[in-house]
């Protein structure tokens, strides 16, 4: 039984952490306020829009609808964790190159969702990209440029990998 704080151990963007959280604290508030990783955005607050998408053990989830204590034992990736020593992630580069955003509010969620897609399916067809990305909402781009960005990144990642 835990009335007070819950001790949790987790990794965030590659770094090991141990901390205590309040049971009723939401993951999104923990990420934005305590970890100060404000790239993760809150919008609908009901698992529909996808702006708050983060990766837990590589899987896309809505951080608005998980408790912070559920991080225990997990590996958390936020948009801040994508840039490596060699600069921006190929998905980030592709979004810039192909114009995959306008206002940018949905972009962290879109890129993380796309990352989980490419991890599962490195060479998706256009239809597969559309079906998977259907989870997240963008109100600016009309989606075409987002789909282009992801297809472009998949091609880039393949040529780097090979």
């Amino acid at each position: 039984m835990t009335e007070g704080l819950v001790p949790i151990k987790f990794r965030v963007n590659g770094q090991q952490n141990e901390i205590e959280v309040r049971p009723h604290e939401l993951l999104i508030d923990f990420v934005r306020e305590l970890l100060a990783l404000t790239g993760t955005k809150r919008s609908c607050d009901m698992e529909v829009c996808g702006t708050c998408t983060v990766l837990l053990d590589g899987k896309a989830v809505s951080s608005c609808s998980l408790f912070a204590f559920e991080l225990d034992g997990k590996d958390l990736t936020t948009i801040e964790g994508l840039e490596g020593p060699e600069g921006l992630h190929p998905l980030q580069k592709a979004f810039i190159q192909c114009g995959g955003f306008q206002c940018g509010f949905c972009t962290p969620g879109m890129i993380l969702l796309a990352k989980s897609l490419l991890a599962e399916n490195p060479e998706p067809t256009r239809e597969e990209v559309c079906a998977y990305m259907d989870a997240n909402i963008c109100r600016c781009t009309g989606y075409q440029m987002i789909v282009e960005s992801i297809l472009h990144a998949a091609k880039e990642m393949k040529s780097v990998g090979s």
């Binding site: 039984m1 835990t2 009335e3 819950v6 309040r22 049971p23 009723h24 604290e25 939401l26 508030d29 607050d45 009901m46 698992e47 529909v48 996808g50 998408t53 899987k59 896309a60 989830v61 809505s62 608005c64 609808s65 998980l66 408790f67 204590f69 559920e70 969702l113 989980s116 998977y132 259907d134 989870a135 997240n136």
Partner: protein, 291 residues
């Protein structure tokens, strides 16, 4: 920010059941949380205790029974696990198809099938499909367990037969005989489905020996349409195809949809009729005597 609560993370099922009994009425179960958190945030449910069952081993059971004729789904099995399982793809392709379309991948990654049933959200996918499969749920409290047919589990909008001290510990889905054909059809203009239709037909040559029709989202709970099942029984594929419109209308009369943001009751009935007609015609294809 949510209201504070006492968190329990038991390591065994008896411990979880003891907690449910001790705090009955003042405790919520957390598995995936995709339904629970929505309702907590909206203030529709409130409890001073939450029991997180994710640390209990064995509750993620997903396997066929020893005879190989029934599937068992534990309360921690996510929609995504069902969607990606080779076992489900091979033996329950309709279930896999339903799971692929359910909500979005973020929700499927965390949400569980059991949780979906327990919250009895009227606009949900699994109910109609599990109804035609004649699924059976096991509800357990600290004293013992009982098994309920899915049709007796759902009671009303957001209401099930689950008692305050019980946990849904298993969903059993019987395998269909080889000569069944099935379709799961849905109309979903938004995030939640407006109408769901699950149709199974069992064939001997060109004759339909049995039909099972489940409808979801068009009333307080998922239903089977007995009148449809009776009138289609023993009919030939030609007859069913010719009268698909009429049988669709029987299905539409058998439900009780509410008018809401997505459409009037009449509109939803029309969708039911169209989907049932479509499903029936597809299932009759290639079943005519001359084929």
């Amino acid at each position: 920010m949510l209201s504070p609560f006492v968190l329990h993370q038991p390591r065994s099922l008896p411990d979880a059941l003891a907690l449910l009994s001790e705090h009955a009425g003042d405790i919520n179960v957390l598995a995936g949380g995709s339904e629970l958190l929505l309702l907590l945030k909206m203030g529709l449910i409130k409890a001073n205790h939450i029991v997180d069952i994710k640390k209990i081993p064995g509750l993620d059971r997903l396997e066929l029974n020893s005879q190989g004729n029934s599937l068992h789904v534990g309360p921690l099995v996510t929609h995504r696990a069902l969607e990606k399982s080779h076992l489900i793809e091979q033996h329950f392709p309709l279930l896999a198809e339903m799971e692929r379309d359910l909500a979005n991948v973020r929700i499927r990654n965390v949400g569980t099938l059991a949780g979906n049933l327990c919250f009895a959200e009227p606009h949900a996918d699994p109910g109609a499909l599990l109804a035609v499969y004649d699924a059976v749920v096991t509800l357990r409290n600290f004293e013992g367990e009982r098994r309920l047919a899915i049709k007796d589990f759902f009671m009303d909008y957001y209401e099930t037969a689950l008692q305050k001290n019980e946990l849904l510990t298993d969903i059993e889905i019987p395998k269909l005989a080889e000569n069944f054909r099935g379709h799961y059809l849905r109309f979903c203009p938004g995030e939640w489905p407006m109408v769901t239709v699950a149709l199974l037909t069992r064939w001997t040559g060109g004759t339909c020996g049995e039909a099972r029709l489940g409808l979801g989202c068009v009333g307080p709970k998922p239903i089977r349409v007995t009148e449809f099942e009776e009138v289609t029984h023993g009919r030939s594929a030609e007859e069913l195809t010719a009268k698909a419109d009429e049988f669709g209308a029987i299905a539409a009369r058998g439900c009780d949809p509410l008018a809401d943001l997505w459409g009037s009751a009449e509109y939803k009935r029309q969708i039911v009729k169209n989907l049932v007609r479509e499903g029936l015609r597809r299932q009759c294809q290639g079943r005519a005597k001359d084929d």
